[in-house]
């Protein structure tokens, strides 16, 4: 699971951390002095160190998954930075190294080693930055707070950069190009950096309270942290429930039509693949996921007789089908997601040459979301079984997409989809068995570019 390069990298980080901490301990008597001898007011530096280590462990174990498995939202940096202010760089490194003992049980040894070394290095670097700015570790008070504010800001910034930089490296080596995916590090990076810096400030707050209440400062700080964590947990839970409910409702919508079951889900998957390939932001990718899922919801508004009619359609019937994107829009309009998603649903049957519906937009007048969904939509329609034909092969479908590039589809999107499929092969659904209830079969699929709807000439 861990690539060789990543293993080397982890080894390097771990040994660097060990050597550096050892070197500092061995060579720099002065730096140790802050740590072993009591500074004014701080009678028990060792007790303080242990308290901060405990705080680090509690924070680390309470880390909440943000959006994915790798990126966790952990306020533990507050403990390290409190150690920077109170006890100096060596203590900060020792506090960071406690990540080795993390109570998160699922961690493998390599991960533990890396986390411990990474936090130790970050702590050491932050402590170094703090000293480099001519601040002296010790208890903050009203006289020296002004002078340590800037050094502290430097230390916090260095800590955040070191932390994320080292983690970025391991992701980069381990997953190669795949790290640009949503499940990599960069998801919500700004949010993550901002929250890390915010929590880093807490380190100074803990240090400020230390003279008055000692270890109780750490306990007190934990209260808002845990409440925030609770809220994040609730958020994640709601998000899961939301996705599940959405899925269930979409499935319910699709039950009417036997052959297109799962269509929304697959189009959503395809649209997300394209979105990642063309490097859409996380937020927009999330929106296109839902837009893909819901793009055909308006089909419910098309009378079943029309959907099931064999042969050519009358003008009116064709108009009824052409109306389905608008019907879909009508249903989802009030959902508070991005405006773009609504555009995507409304215009997913526009064509680049302007002969699509409902508006007849052409070229780049068509919103990007709609151009993406159109490709994923046509692809899934071709690669799944219909009542009038078997499923086509992926190669055939991609060929059709290429043929249609420029006239029906956006060439950029088509190329992006083909590139995405090369990296991450498309999983075809189980071929649909013959339906048990023939009344649930739509004869014509309006999405199928290989069998366009025919309209009776007047």
């Amino acid at each position: 699971m861990v690539s060789r390069a990543a293993r080397l990298y982890i080894g390097l980080v771990v040994s660097t951390a060990a050597v550096l901490v050892a070197a500092v301990v061995a060579c720099d008597r002065e730096m140790q002095a802050h740590f072993w001898t009591p500074s004014p007011g701080l009678q028990h530096p060792l007790a303080a160190l242990i308290t901060l280590q405990a705080l680090f462990l509690v924070c680390d174990s309470g880390a909440t998954p943000m959006t994915s498995r790798q990126t966790r939202w952990s306020p533990s940096s507050s403990a390290t930075l409190a150690a920077v202010v109170l006890l100096g760089p060596v203590a900060a490194a020792l506090v960071g190294a406690t990540a080795l003992l993390s109570l998160q049980r699922h961690l493998r040894l390599a991960e533990r080693l890396f986390n411990g070394a990474m936090y130790a290095l970050s702590g050491l670097a932050a402590g170094g930055a703090y000293l480099a700015c001519h601040a002296v570790p010790g208890l903050p008070n009203s006289y020296n707070l002004r002078t340590i504010l800037l050094p502290f800001a430097a230390a916090a910034t260095v800590h955040v950069i070191a932390n994320h930089g080292l983690v970025w490296g391991v992701h980069r080596l381990n997953r190669g190009r795949a790290m640009w995916r949503r499940d990599g590090l960069e998801s919500n990076l700004t949010l993550l950096l901002a929250s890390d810096l915010g929590y880093a400030c807490l380190g100074l707050v803990i240090a400020s309270l230390w003279e008055i209440m000692g270890w109780f400062a750490a306990a007190l700080v934990l209260v808002p942290l845990f409440v925030a964590r609770w809220a994040m947990g609730q958020f994640a839970e709601q998000q899961r429930a939301y996705a599940a409910t959405m899925n269930a409702l979409c499935q319910a919508v699709e039950t009417k039509d036997y052959y297109t079951r799962g269509h929304g889900d697959r189009v959503s998957r395809g649209a997300v693949m394209i979105a990642r390939q063309i490097r859409m932001s996380t937020e927009r990718t999330e929106a296109i996921r839902f837009a893909g899922m819901l793009h055909d919801v308006g089909k419910l508004g098309v009378p079943t007789q029309v959907l099931q009619k064999t042969g050519a359609l009358t003008e009116d019937e064709f108009a009824a089908i052409q109306l389905h994107p608008m019907r879909g829009l009508e249903i989802v309009r009030e959902i508070g997601f991005l405006f773009e998603a609504l555009n995507g649903i409304m215009h997913h049957h526009e064509r680049m040459d302007g002969r699509g519906y409902p508006m007849g937009l052409a070229g780049h007048e068509i919103p990007e979301f709609a151009r993406v969904i159109a490709v994923a939509d046509a692809f899934d329609s071709m690669t799944t079984t219909r009542s009038y034909r078997e499923a086509k092969s992926i190669e055939f479908a991609l060929g059709e997409l290429r043929n249609g590039a420029g006239t029906q589809f956006d060439p950029v999107v088509v190329e992006a989809f083909i590139a995405a499929i090369e990296k991450d092969p498309w999983k075809l659904p189980e071929p649909a068995a013959k339906p048990a209830d023939p009344t649930t079969v739509t004869v014509k699929d309006h999405d199928d570019p290989t069998a366009p709807l025919r309209v009776v000439e007047p």
Binding site: L202, V205, L220, T245, L249
Partner: protein
């Protein structure tokens, strides 16, 4: 938790603001106004040497900042936790390193600073065309005033001195904060009970259940702020605002997803309308009625939320039917078909695996109130009655029609629970023309 928009008597936008005021709000605002007037009079009379001008400026700014970053909570509530931290900490400030460690301002000064801070923080909201949130501000001001009037005299008696053990100080601060928080919650519950037509006891329980985590975080932050300021001075406020913002962000995301979730279910429940299975607006009207009845029967917010979801999705099972029922009225099809639709709907909802209580309500929605063991859940009986009422009355506000429908349901105590129908009659009586 939510359901706020269902029976809330929020006035249409064109109604003037004062027309929307009810007696509870007027009382609250009058109290707040009197406090503010007294406070300004008191501050003018206060000896300039006792004002602690810098502290007032710092905390006022903090409060304004917090008011700027308000937090929308589930159920259409609004909180300003950071402003609350600032105001409460200012009300209970023990000492500052500046000026020989003494803080000499009085409770009226606290009220004045809080009022000014909140107003300044609310200005950008008004400028952006959002509501000023006057009710929330008044509630917070009253709570802060209570704390200030209790605590400032204690500080004047020397409680902030170095000789007082910090554990005692922390305990007293925590206790007084609890009082202030309870006042805040109580007033909030009173206003809310009045707004949505819930019982006060239920509203209070809902409010406590929803607000306690935030209250805990605010309480701890108040203690941190007070002691941080005591040790390192007012700069502490600037340092501490970062973590507070991050903590608030977590709450904001949580409330945001809750709102989107509800919106999505509301919108997707309309697929049955677009598909022609039910009349336009049916699911929304049924859910509104059902939540109002549930509230009248004293259901708590989590139950109301499940009821709202179930009522919105109660017809989802019809999607599995080949052809729409004429007019969509489930009342007109055979009992067996109704059971089947309910069963199919429950099946759909159960596939989500997170809404099993909602699925239960949907499943029993057509079961008669009497004569079946086990009896259907209360929520199902409410949906059954609300659905029947809407099938018979629809969006019409004709009183005769609604009276006839209620009469028909009253005469059938086996099908419809008498208690539910009685509350439904009350709700129907105060129905206003739907704005759908």
């Amino acid at each position: 938790m939510t359901g706020g928009t269902i029976a809330r008597r929020t006035p249409p936008a064109r109604m003037a603001y004062w027309q929307a005021l009810d007696s509870g709000r007027i009382l609250l605002m009058a109290a707040a106004a009197m406090l503010v007037i007294a406070a300004f009079a008191g501050v003018v009379a206060l000896h300039p040497a006792r004002v602690n001008f810098l502290a007032a400026l710092a905390f006022g700014g903090f409060i304004a900042f917090g008011e700027l970053f308000r937090l929308a909570l589930p159920g259409g509530r609004e909180a300003a936790p950071i402003a609350m931290v600032g105001a409460m900490a200012y009300a209970m400030l023990l000492a500052l390193p500046e000026q020989d460690g003494r803080v000499t301002y009085d409770a009226l000064m606290v009220v004045a600073v809080a009022a000014i801070g909140m107003t300044v923080g609310a200005l950008p909201h008004i400028a952006a065309g959002r509501s000023a949130g006057l009710t929330g501000m008044c509630t917070r001001l009253v709570a802060v005033s209570c704390v200030a009037f209790i605590f400032r005299p204690i500080v004047s008696a020397g409680f902030g001195n170095k000789s007082v053990y910090w554990v005692l100080q922390v305990s007293v601060i925590a206790l007084v904060f609890l009082v202030g928080w309870l006042v805040d919650t109580l007033v909030g519950a009173l206003i809310r009970a009045d707004d949505v037509g819930a019982r006060f006891s239920v509203a209070m329980r809902d409010e406590i259940r929803l607000q306690w985590p935030l209250g805990l975080a605010v309480g701890a932050s108040v203690i941190i702020t007070i002691f941080g300021a005591k040790q390192t001075g007012l700069i502490e406020l600037a340092v501490f605002i970062g973590p507070l913002l991050v903590t608030q962000l977590a709450f904001r995301r949580y409330a945001g997803i809750r709102a989107t979730y509800l919106q999505t279910v509301r919108s997707l429940a309309r697929v049955t309308e677009v598909a022609g299975y039910v009349e336009t607006g049916h699911s929304r009207r049924v859910s509104r009625l059902a939540v109002a009845v549930g509230r009248g029967l004293g259901l708590a917010e989590p139950e109301l939320l499940a009821l709202e979801y179930a009522a919105l999705m109660h017809d989802i099972g019809q999607l599995s039917l080949r052809d729409p029922i004429p007019g969509g009225a489930t009342l007109l099809v055979s009992a067996a078909d109704q059971e089947r639709i309910a069963e199919l709907g429950a099946e759909v909802i159960r596939t989500a695996r997170v809404l099993d209580d909602v699925a239960e309500l949907v499943r029993y929605q057509s079961r008669p109130a009497r004569g079946h063991e086990p009896a259907p859940p209360l929520g199902s009986m409410i949906i059954k009655a609300a659905n029947a009422f809407d099938d018979m009355v629809g969006s019409s506000t004709d009183r005769n029609r609604s009276a006839a429908a209620l009469e028909r349901m009253r005469l059938d105590p086996v099908e419809y629970d008498a208690g539910v129908v009685a509350v439904l009659a009350e709700v129907a009586a105060r129905r206003v023309p739907s704005r759908l």
